[in-house]
């Protein structure tokens, strides 16, 4: 159990660093989702299921969806850019 905790914490740190070091916005958003999911598992292991449910629903779900929509709005998704270039 201790090993699992340590591994999860290590992954958490890796994810947190990766979010700020990735150049692509979409990639960093997906890494951020992974961060939230790992955090939810850690809350579960810390015996606070209330927080785990909220983290999974809000952190990994709603927040990321809003981020995705914003990226689409500002035309920062890779596919959008290709599409626009093709149109031009």
């Amino acid at each position: 159990m201790n090993f699992v905790n340590l591994a999860l914490l290590g992954m958490l740190v890796v994810c947190a660093l990766a979010v700020s070091f990735t150049k692509n916005l979409l990639t960093s958003l997906i890494v951020y989702m992974a961060y939230s999911l790992i955090m939810a598992v850690i809350w579960m292991l810390l015996e606070s299921p209330d927080l785990a449910i909220t983290e999974a629903a809000v952190g990994a779900g709603i927040t990321s969806v809003l981020f995705f929509v914003t990226l689409k709005k500002i035309h920062a998704l890779q596919g959008d850019r290709d599409h626009e270039q093709a149109q031009k």
């Binding site: 299921p49 209330d50 449910i53 629903a57 779900g61 709603i62 929509v69 689409k72």
Partner: protein
């Protein structure tokens, strides 16, 4: 040409440059002005020639001013690229070092003055926690101790949280909503957004629709379960509302705004949020009034563990869940195309 030229000459930047270089340009201008004076032109000169002359002088002056303008702009540009850039960069580094140092200093100072973790005499180890743990079940009737705390002992905080969410939704509504015009017709911007939305998200995606048909009922059911069982098991209004809203968003994505608009409009949002927040306020006002004046509350607590127990906790959970679900859904709709 003359109109454009006079506008161009009276720009603040132009006037500044002229003022700066007036010293050695005054003579030039005086000579040109003498050439340009129409009254002083010698009478024997051919008028056509004089007009040509004047035109050439104007052209020359215009070219020279333009060149000076470009030179000044280039100087400024070069300055931002070399010295100015370095200066501002150094200022940024200095400011961020200062800010970071201050934050580190204050945080370390706070930590140094904290009592030892887990000591018996720390302020956090007071009778409140003991009371919550020992008397919580009897006083609130909620098997889930967290729900008992956030919706009974500290319900005022939760009211504040729901209100903050509601205000955030209102702010997003003000910022991002694209309205119909005065006559009730869609404006140009609305049509553009609409076509943009259609353009990026093709309708009738079979895979998405199939997944949504399977998942939406499950998500809604699970969300309702989490909300209604908030006082018995982990979960509650906030997380349940988020799950419900994710189900609604999935439905909206798969089937479009037209179908989703059948059950959710601005009216729904207004009335559900208003009703839920109002009910929350009235219910808590009643229990605060009773508690503060030592009156007996007439809300039965029920048997702990039964679905109808915990006094006000279950209705309050439902109210919070409704507010959260509506807010998240309207966030998504507004972010996506500025309306429902």
């Amino acid at each position: 040409m003359s109109k454009r030229r006079s506008d161009w000459q009276n720009r603040p930047q132009e006037r500044f440059v002229r003022w700066m270089r007036e010293g050695y340009l005054a003579l030039d201008e005086a000579i040109e002005d003498s050439v340009l004076q129409p009254g002083e032109a010698p009478p024997e000169v051919d008028p056509e020639l004089a007009a040509q002359h004047q035109e050439a002088a104007l052209q020359h002056r215009h070219d020279r001013d333009l060149a000076l303008d470009r030179l000044a702009q280039y100087d400024l540009y070069a300055w931002t690229l070399t010295k100015g850039r370095r200066l501002i960069g150094r200022l940024h580094v200095l400011l961020s070092l200062l800010l970071g140092g201050m934050i580190i200093f204050f945080l370390l100072g706070t930590v140094a003055h904290m009592p030892r973790f887990g000591a018996a005499d720390v302020p956090a180890n007071n009778e409140v926690i003991t009371r919550y743990i020992e008397q919580g079940l009897a006083e609130t009737g909620a098997t889930n101790m967290v729900a008992g705390m956030i919706l009974d002992y500290r319900a005022f905080d939760t009211l504040g949280e729901s209100t903050v969410l509601f205000i955030a939704a209102c702010a997003v509504l003000i910022l991002l909503r694209i309205d119909l015009d005065d006559k009730g017709q869609p404006t140009q911007q609305l049509i553009a957004e609409e076509s943009d939305d259609r353009h990026y998200e093709p309708k009738n995606d079979r895979i998405l629709q199939g997944t949504a048909i399977l998942l939406t009922p499950i998500l809604l059911l699970f969300g309702l379960y989490v909300i209604l069982n908030g006082h018995l098991s982990p979960g509650g209004g906030f997380s349940g509302g988020a799950i419900v809203s994710s189900g609604l968003i999935l439905y909206l994505n798969a089937f479009g705004f037209k179908k989703a608009g059948r059950f959710f409009s601005y009216k729904t949002f207004q009335w559900v949020s208003f009703g839920a927040l109002g009910f929350y306020g009235v219910a808590k006002a009643y229990s605060f009034y009773c508690g503060a004046n030592g009156l007996e509350s007439h809300i039965p607590l029920g048997t702990p563990g039964a679905i109808l127990s915990g006094g006000l906790i279950m209705p309050l959970n439902i109210a919070v869940g409704l507010v959260v679900a509506c807010t998240m859904y309207i966030f998504y709709a507004l972010f996506r195309k500025g309306g429902l």
